[in-house]
Amino acid sequence: MTATVRRVGTLAALLACAAAVLLPLIWILTTSFKTVADINAYPPSLLPRAFTTANYTGITDQLAFGRLLANTVIFAGGVTALALVFDSMAAYALARLDFRGRGLVLMAILATLMVPFQATLVPVYRLINELGLVNTYPGMILPRAADAFGIFLLRQFFLSIPRDLDSAARIDGAGEFRIFRSVVLPNAKPALLTLALFVFMNNWNDLLWPLVFTTDQDMRTLTAGLALLTGKFGVVDHGLVMAGSVISMAPLIVLFLLVQRRFIEGIATTGLK
């Protein structure tokens, strides 16, 4: 009896927490369908009293929204693609090749894990600036095209792939690159997908990085563009901004719902973002 009561209580508490956590996101969605009059009416309500899709058509006209979306896709997608290639190559060397100084190289790479990008933003900006890459995709993408977390994650995974598979390929005369591409990578799909998800998410969502490396409106990402839109004009069309927010958040929420097991297990096993 008390066990049942406790279970119901636990469930009720968790449902209340989940509702509270989801409330702001639901409010963003409902507000994106509200009219200006409705948003400013007293008392404020969660659900739209008059339904409109004008905010969604309006946002595409303003802000060069399509351009922001394209920039975000290119930036987050570019970083993810390059980081997967470079991280997995480095991880292969560290997991599978015997060479002098391997331990040292691994230590050096792991040490960079401890450096927050915010602490090196000034010199990295100076470097990108000297290379003439501010306001360009390469300028935003290149500094993040490899990262210690990805190398470490993949190395751990590669170590768990049986060496017999390599040896078989090696007897068949395969070179290291072929073993890497056709033996190790196909067997590491779960780890590669996990890494791709995290890298993509972190870059899609980042604010400080695109703020620093782009000054041109046309090069902004969604997060930076929306943040600047609200700050700059003071009074803004709230419904419009919420429609933009929905569009910027929807891809990641959908992606997460599709592969949430991978996401959550990735965090549970590595404990890193």
């Binding site: 279970r7 956590v21 996101l25 090749l97 620093v212």
Partner: protein, 317 residues
């Protein structure tokens, strides 16, 4: 391990005949070249964009480098300014305040949620986990816009609900006392699901039979929590505390959007100040000194993390 070394008696390899010894070198060199080729792209990127910048930021912090023109050596002037100028020092004080607010709250909430989520035969478990985790995958900079609207006294739903229960805070984000707790609360909302998942993994690692044995011995729920769950979860707790603390030191996104560091600089954190000094005022030298301060604080926490990391590695084998 290679089969040959397992069969051959120890030491035999070193007295190998000359031709074999002669061949070993090129093989090793070739191996080195292959490894270099695999490592090169990542190594170049990490050296150029992490390694060199660390050296550079140290050097810059002793100069008056600006966006353009020459820079000259100014010794410790930047550091004196950080700790001497009230306007700047407040960013350090605020970052400590934010960290002290955010870290224990988010860790306790995450632990509480994980304990509830871990109760046996809980209905809707995966749906609840999904719901609690969703804020983790959305952009803090974007949801922060919605949070400032929700707290707005003119149109805000949350402000309205607060008023209804007799809580009249006025414009929270312009209130010097409440602005910082508000931006910290938004970060708690955003990250609690993330830390909860780590706690859940830790809880699932605790062998069930321990609880059964405790129940047979007549232990109350609180006693098994106190004597089984907490001690066996201490590694996870320490780990979560450290990474949450590191995350807190880097607070920027929601502050930039919600308060821009105000009111009266009450929410200006170190990273906000780095952004302002470095990229608005173009005082790169000064921003570098602030950056080193951030790096030092992070390294202290990361050093602790490394200890736990290796401990975890050892446990996992």
């Amino acid at each position: 391990m290679r089969t040959s070394s397992a069969i051959a008696p120890v030491g035999k390899r070193y007295r190998a005949p000359a031709p074999l010894g002669g061949r070993r070198r090129p093989v090793g060199a070739r191996r080195g070249r292959v490894a270099t080729a695999f490592l090169l792209p990542a190594a170049v990127i990490l050296l150029a964009f992490v390694g060199w910048p660390i050296v550079s930021v140290i050097g810059l912090s002793f100069t008056d480098a600006s966006g353009l023109g020459q820079s000259s050596w100014v010794g410790l002037a930047n550091y004196r300014e950080i700790f001497g100028d009230d306007d700047i020092r407040i960013s350090v004080v605020n970052t400590v305040g934010y960290t002290v607010m955010f870290t224990p709250v988010v860790v306790l909430l995450a632990l509480g949620l994980a304990l509830l989520m871990n109760s046996p035969r809980l209905p809707l478990r995966s749906a609840l986990r999904t719901a609690l985790f969703i804020p983790v995958v959305v952009s803090l900079g974007v949801v922060a816009i919605a949070w400032s609207y929700l707290l707005d006294p003119n149109i805000g739903l949350l402000d309205h609900w607060f008023n209804r229960v007799g809580l009249d805070l006025g414009n929270v984000l312009e209130n010097p006392t409440w602005a910082m707790p508000a931006v910290a609360a938004v970060a708690v909302w955003k990250n609690v699901g993330f830390y909860m998942v780590i706690f859940l993994a830790g809880l699932q690692g605790i062998p069930r039979h321990l609880y059964e044995a405790a129940r047979v011995d007549g232990a109350a729920r609180w006693q098994s929590f106190r004597h089984i769950t907490l001690p066996l979860l201490s590694n996870t707790t320490a780990f979560v505390l450290i990474i949450a603390g590191i995350a807190a030191l880097q607070a920027f996104d929601q502050i930039y959007v919600m308060t821009a560091g105000g009111p009266y600089r009450k929410t200006t954190t170190i990273v906000m100040q780095i952004y302002e000094s470095g990229f608005t005022d173009l005082r790169l030298g000064f921003a570098s000194a602030l950056s080193l301060l951030l790096l030092a604080a992070t390294l202290i926490l990361s050093g602790l993390q490394l200890v736990f990391f290796t401990r975890r590695e050892k446990e996992l084998g």
